[in-house]
Structures are given as structure tokens and as C-alpha cells.
Symmetry: C2
Subunit: 431 residues, 2 copies
């Protein structure tokens, strides 16, 4: 495929005007100022478009599209106990498949190419991602409340290993299987260290919720002799493998330094944290400490969308207002978090930027819409002025999955029908 | 016009499913469960759509689209002095006309039907609004730094009166001319009381910036014997006429009570206030005190878009996280602020809701997009899940101005061309 006369923006917001970009198979094969020799197949006129790396959603629970708008204006524990948990108890594989498929449809509409996901019924999740043409790091979260429980007796761990065997590296590497501890308050030291050891042995990434709320953070210190969740997990060896720590709203400076030292990625989820009134992750300080900071949408139940362009604006603005400094979290820092930092968190080398030889995980934004004009600074326009659906094209591994409002790999009407049906079934059972 | 089989949501988020809505001329003439008798002209199949009141943008500087992305990541005073003021000094009527036209194109794309505007070259602004088919309350802000200056010697006041004579009530009432004091720190007591008297005499509304930043709020107290901006304006009689006070981030409780007593509308601008790190207007407390709270985008220079659906999400979420309570600012409260409260602030009776006899200022949202499904709660989906451009149709006074991505009253390509040209001219002069 060849994009001609197109503006190209890299992961740091640097723009090359009026260029050519060619793809061969799943990779970018040419970038230059002039039309390349050779046959590139389909030619796409790039005038009035901005080509840039697709977005990496660094923390999500994709099937929770099924719960979008279910349980609003509630406090976290009431929301979980009265709404989320009873609904989730009635999920089945079919519901999860279609909930994930709807999430993939929404994700590609908003320029996401890859998602770090944590949920249940992961085989069905993996199948939906595979069928959609998207990329994902999928994990089955372990929970345990019995200090004596051994990981090798847990059904959920058996599922993890099976998932890893069946799906890790599948679909030409589009699918990666991560290991996951749900959170400190839903785990025991024994399963944390056992899973950390297993992940190290097989070389899997780790995905975990960390210090999302003040009560979780303070409660951990009470439960574990003053240790914060970061210190608790670190002491148990959890960060020995590449780890994504979601939320990280209530970190101490020492926590931040530990995360930097261990190379842990923080997946900040500003919309979900604001909507549940959990707080705002201190991104500027994390960046200053050298932590790799990426951006996640969290699940649609607490967001309530997967609108990644909107998420970027929240990411930058929440930090400006919370620290009282409008110079913090620049468009370039935001774009890097959305692309390169996310790809790095997923362990996807050669992804998240625009370069010859990199994976062709690209999006094209429409620059003809009124909100994107005039252009003083394209990086600012992308982060602050773009509307989610200004994404005109989403390409994953060189394959266009979404173009001009049309989903090319997903039957959206069917996904809508099936998710509505699953929702109605569950609500019927709950009545 | 007749919308059939459509979901209708009122200004409080209440939904009627599968209904019919007819318009005659500029008003809604029928709402019911069955198809009405008679000829309604064009029939629009409403299946998969949500019909609701259009949005009222309660504080904006429309021509500032010209400065979108110009001067990013700067502190307010540096931003104003190094970027905004020198650029604005070089504006002319042609630039303002096209900057306003581009803002109108963007506004209708995002479901705005009417805008409370404050700027310069107001004759050209009014002409652009008239040509676009949109509604606006336009005001020329007065500034004075000489305590002895009399309003009757000011060229800007002459412009206000001329504007009022030429445009107030024009275009079948679509245009309203307000009076405006820019802010406390750019005014003198004399011109404030003189303009208040004039506005009272002619029956005009008032539009003013109030307590946007902490330094403005505290500086006012130093300058005026401990009086806050609200107390200062109140003591000078400014609130004797219907007033919109923009921002109101740093109000005292006494200020809030005064605003409630005087019937002043607060136009909260959460995105601009967060981006400039000014703070977050305390919407829940204002509502508790009985203040009419509306929502504004502010200018595109500090937002950097006019994406009203995004603005609603910021409005709700900023208050949840700042007060640490996820139950605050419900979707119903947000929708009311976006519609009825805004119409009321503009002095537009019979606007801002869906009812027989009301003005047909309507928008239709597309419910077939993945981010709007499944539907547990439509009001939540509109505020939290919709993407700005999910607006499929915008109607002003019974006339469709925007439909399915097409602008029917504005040549957007020309508006883009002219704003880019004006921008290039000014940047050339500044070099």
C-alpha cells in the first residue's frame, strides 16, 4: 500500500509534510519525500490526512462494554457490589466474545491498534481479537483470599497456562498472553510470588492493578506492615518480568523510584479515575523519575467509552489542573505515552512509531474537519482538538481494519445485536 | 418535517421511545406515540437515532478558532502577552468573519445550536452567525483602565450601541446582542455602573468574566477593599439585568449566594480552566445554592475545540474527582446545564427543551455506533459515551443546518481556506 502526499507524525509529534509512506506485508517499507519505485498495490491519496502511529490502550477490560452505563453515579464499593459483580457472575463465553468484539469495533474507530486486557473467559476474548484483526495482550487475572492456597491447585491458573499455550504469539504475534494478579487486596503473598516465578520461567509479561484508590493504598499498608502495594509486589518479585501497573493514583515518591528502577510501566487511566473520583495519577512526577507512562481507557463500565483521543486530552488536562501548572504534560509527552510507551509496555518491539521496518500499525486522521483547522501546531491539534471519530483509517500489521466509518473486519450490527441480547438475558436473570 | 420511530430525550435526560415529532416552521408542532395526520413535508426515519435538544454554548469567543493551537503549554500571562494579544492586535473584520464561520461549522458538527459570544469586530461576527443559520448572543466587551473615563466617550461603547441597534433580535430572533464588561481587572467602577445602567435601560443581558483565576480573585480583593469580583460587580449594579458570569472558579460561598439571589447564570468552562490550570468551578455547590449553571467551551485558543459532548464529560468528571465524590453532577444535571440552563442564560424562552410550541432547536445522535451500545441508560451514554461527531443532524429554528457530516449552510472548505490565509497573514506580520 502507498500513501502519497501525506503529512506524517511520529511518536513524539514531529511532522514531515507532503511525504510518501509505503507498506509491504505487515511492515512499513518506505518513507520519503518522493514517490518510490515499484508496485505498492493500492495507492491512497493522503492529501488532507495525517498519518501517525496507532494508539496502544495500556489497560482495559474489553468485555465490560456489556456494562456500559450500568451503575452510574455510585461510589466504587456500592458500584462493584450492587452492579458490577452480580452482572459479571452471569456472563458466559458468548457474551464475552461479543462484548470484546464490540470493544474492538469501538477501539479501531478511535484509532486504537492494540489493547492490554485483563478479564475472564479469555479464550473467547482471544478469539474475538483474532477475528477482528486487532492486537491485544490478554490476561486472566488471579484472585485468592486463602493464604494457604497454592497456585497449582487453582483452576484460574490452569486457565492461564492453557491460554498461554494456545494463544501466546498467535496470529503472527498479534496476540500475546500476559500473566495477571488482579490486585494486592485480592491476592495472597503466596500466589503473587508463585505467579511471578512462573511468569519469569516462561518469559511472560505481568499486568496488575496498583494503588487505584486511597483506601486500597492505605489498606495495604495496614495489612502488610507499612508496605505500599508497589513495595508489597516488589518484595514478592512480581516486577522481575516486564510489568504494567494500572492506575497508580496514590503512589509515594519511593514507589515511583521503585517502578523506575524495575522498568515497570504505569498505565494511567485518567477518565476512569476521575469518574470514580479515585484521583489523578501524578504523570509529570513519574516522567521526571524516569518511569515509562502509558495511557489506558480502563473498561467501558467506568469510562464509559474507549475514545482514546478524548483519553489523551483528559491525561494532559487532569495533570495540568491538579498540579496547578499549564506547562505540564505536553502534546509530545502525551503522544509518546499513547504510542511508543504503550507498545513498550506490551513488549512489542518495532511497534508504536513510524519508521522503515516497523510494523504498519497506523492511523490516518482527517484534517479537513473544522475542529482541526487552522493548523498552528499539528501535535496540539491531535491531542486537544481532534474528535475521536476524526480517525479516517486504522491499519494493523499492514491491513486496513477500519476506513471512512466502515468496519472491514467486524459485523458491527451483529456485535450490537449480540451484546444487547446478552445484556437483556443477564438483566432478566437479575430481576 | 416529521421524525418517525425516534427516541426522544428531554432536557432532564428522560426518554420516550419510538415516538413521532413534527415541526412546522421554526417550532415543534407535534410529539406523540402515533403518526400524526397532515402533511409535515420531509419525513425522516428516526430509527437508530436519539432526538434531543441542541446544546447551548454559554461562553465562547468564536473567532479564536484562528488561534487554535497557537501558544501551547504556557502560563496564562505569558500566553496572553507573548501570543494572544499580539496576534489579536492584527485581526481584521475579514479574519473575524471567517474565524466565526469556522466556529459555527464546528459548533453545529458537535450539536451546538446557540452560543453566548464575547469578542471584537462584532458586526462581522453577527454577519457570520446570520449567514450560518445559527443562534448567538453577541457582545463587544468593554475594557477601561482610566478611572476617570466616561463610557459615553468610548469608541467601544459606541460600537455596542450600534451593534445593539443593528442586530438585536435580528434574523427572527436568532441574534441577540448582549452588553459586556470584560472583567473586574480590566474595568473601572465607573464604566461598570454606567454599562449596567445602560443595559437596564434597554433591557439587554450582561456577559462578564468572573473569578477565572486565583490571582484575579485575590487581586480584586486587594484592589477593592476586600470585595470579591462578584461583590464588586454586585455593588455596582451589574447584576440588575440578566447576567452570564463565565468561569467562576474561585467563588466564595457568599459569592454563590449572591449569584443565586440575583439570578445570575454561571457558565462553567471546565476544559479551558483545566488546560490553563485555573481550577475547577464548584458546580455541585452552586447547584445546591440554587444557581443556574450552564456550560461553555470558552475560545478554541484555550480548549482547543468546541466539542460540546466532550465538554459535558469534563464538566461532570472534573467535579467528581475534585470533590472526591462520584455521585456528584449526574448525567441529568449535566444535560440540563447543557440545554435548558443555557437557553435560560441567553434569555431565550421556549428554547432548550423538547415540547410542543418550543423552538425546533434539535439534534439527532446516531445510536448505531459501537460506543453508544449496548444501551443501559441513554442519558449516561450521551454524556459519557458519545463522541462529538455522533451528532448526525443539527436543526436550528426548524431548519437543518448540518446532516450526516455535511454542512448545509456553510462552505467549510472556504472557511478553512480563509482562516488559514488570515492566520498566515498575521504570522507573517509578526515575524
Amino acid at each position: 500500500m502507498l500513501f502519497s502526499n501525506v503529512n506524517i507524525m511520529d511518536a513524539q509529534g514531529q511532522v514531515t509534510e507532503n511525504a510518501y509512506l509505503g507498506t509491504a506485508g505487515e511492515r512499513i517499507s518506505y518513507i520519503g519525500a518522493s514517490r518510490p519505485e515499484g508496485d505498492f498495490g493500492r495507492a491512497i491519496d493522503g492529501r488532507g490526512k495525517l498519518l501517525m502511529p496507532g494508539f496502544y490502550n495500556a489497560h482495559a477490560h474489553s468485555p465490560m462494554t456489556l456494562l456500559r452505563g450500568y451503575g452510574e453515579n455510585m461510589r466504587l464499593q456500592e458500584w462493584l457490589n450492587a452492579r458490577i459483580f452480580p452482572f459479571e457472575d452471569r456472563l458466559d463465553g458468548n457474551a464475552v466474545y461479543w462484548g470484546t468484539m464490540l470493544a474492538m469495533a469501538e477501539s479501531m474507530r478511535f484509532g486504537i491498534v492494540s489493547t492490554t486486557d485483563m478479564y475472564n473467559f479469555c479464550d473467547e476474548m482471544a478469539r474475538a481479537v483474532a477475528d477482528s484483526g486487532m492486537k491485544a495482550n490478554i490476561s486472566r487475572a488471579l484472585l485468592s483470599f486463602d493464604p494457604g492456597e497454592d497456585i497449582h491447585g487453582m483452576e484460574s491458573f490452569r486457565e492461564c497456562r492453557e491460554l498461554y499455550g494456545n494463544w501466546n504469539g498467535a496470529e503472527g504475534g498479534r496476540l500475546i498472553v500476559d500473566m495477571s494478579i488482579h490486585a494486592e487486596y485480592t491476592s495472597t503473598p503466596r500466589i503473587v510470588s508463585q505467579l511471578a516465578e512462573y511468569a519469569g520461567d516462561v518469559g511472560a509479561n505481568m499486568h496488575v492493578h496498583v494503588s487505584e484508590t486511597e483506601s486500597e493504598h492505605e489498606g495495604c499498608k495496614e495489612r502488610h506492615g507499612g508496605m505500599t502495594p508497589v513495595e508489597y509486589f516488589s518484595s514478592l518479585g512480581l516486577f522481575g518480568t516486564r510489568t504494567t501497573a494500572a492506575h497508580c493514583v496514590w503512589l509515594s515518591e519511593h514507589d515511583m523510584e521503585l517502578l523506575a528502577e524495575k522498568g515497570v510501566t504505569v498505565a494511567s487511566c485518567p477518565v476512569s479515575n476521575m469518574k470514580l473520583a479515585s484521583g489523578v495519577c501524578n504523570v509529570p512526577l513519574l516522567l521526571e523519575k524516569g518511569v515509562n507512562v502509558a495511557i489506558g481507557t480502563d473498561g467501558a463500565a467506568s469510562n464509559n467509552s474507549l475514545n482514546y483521543i478524548e483519553e489523551m486530552k483528559f491525561f494532559a488536562l487532569a495533570n495540568k489542573v491538579m498540579r496547578g501548572d499549564p506547562t505540564l504534560v505536553s502534546p509530545a509527552e502525551t503522544l509518546r505515552a499513547a504510542t511508543l510507551a504503550g507498545a513498550r509496555s506490551q513488549g512489542r518491539s518495532g511497534c508504536g512509531d513510524i519508521a522503515v521496518g516497523a510494523r504498519a500499525d497506523l492511523i490516518a486522521l482527517d484534517l479537513s474537519v473544522p475542529n482541526m483547522r487552522p493548523i498552528h501546531d499539528l501535535a496540539s491539534n491531535v491531542v486537544y482538538s481532534a474528535c475521536g471519530s476524526d480517525v479516517a483509517l486504522t491499519m494493523v500489521d499492514g491491513r486496513i481494519v477500519y476506513e471512512n466509518g466502515k468496519h472491514l473486519t467486524i459485523d458491527v450490527e451483529r456485535a450490537v445485536y449480540e451484546t444487547e441480547r446478552a445484556k437483556d438475558r443477564i438483566l432478566g436473570e437479575l430481576r
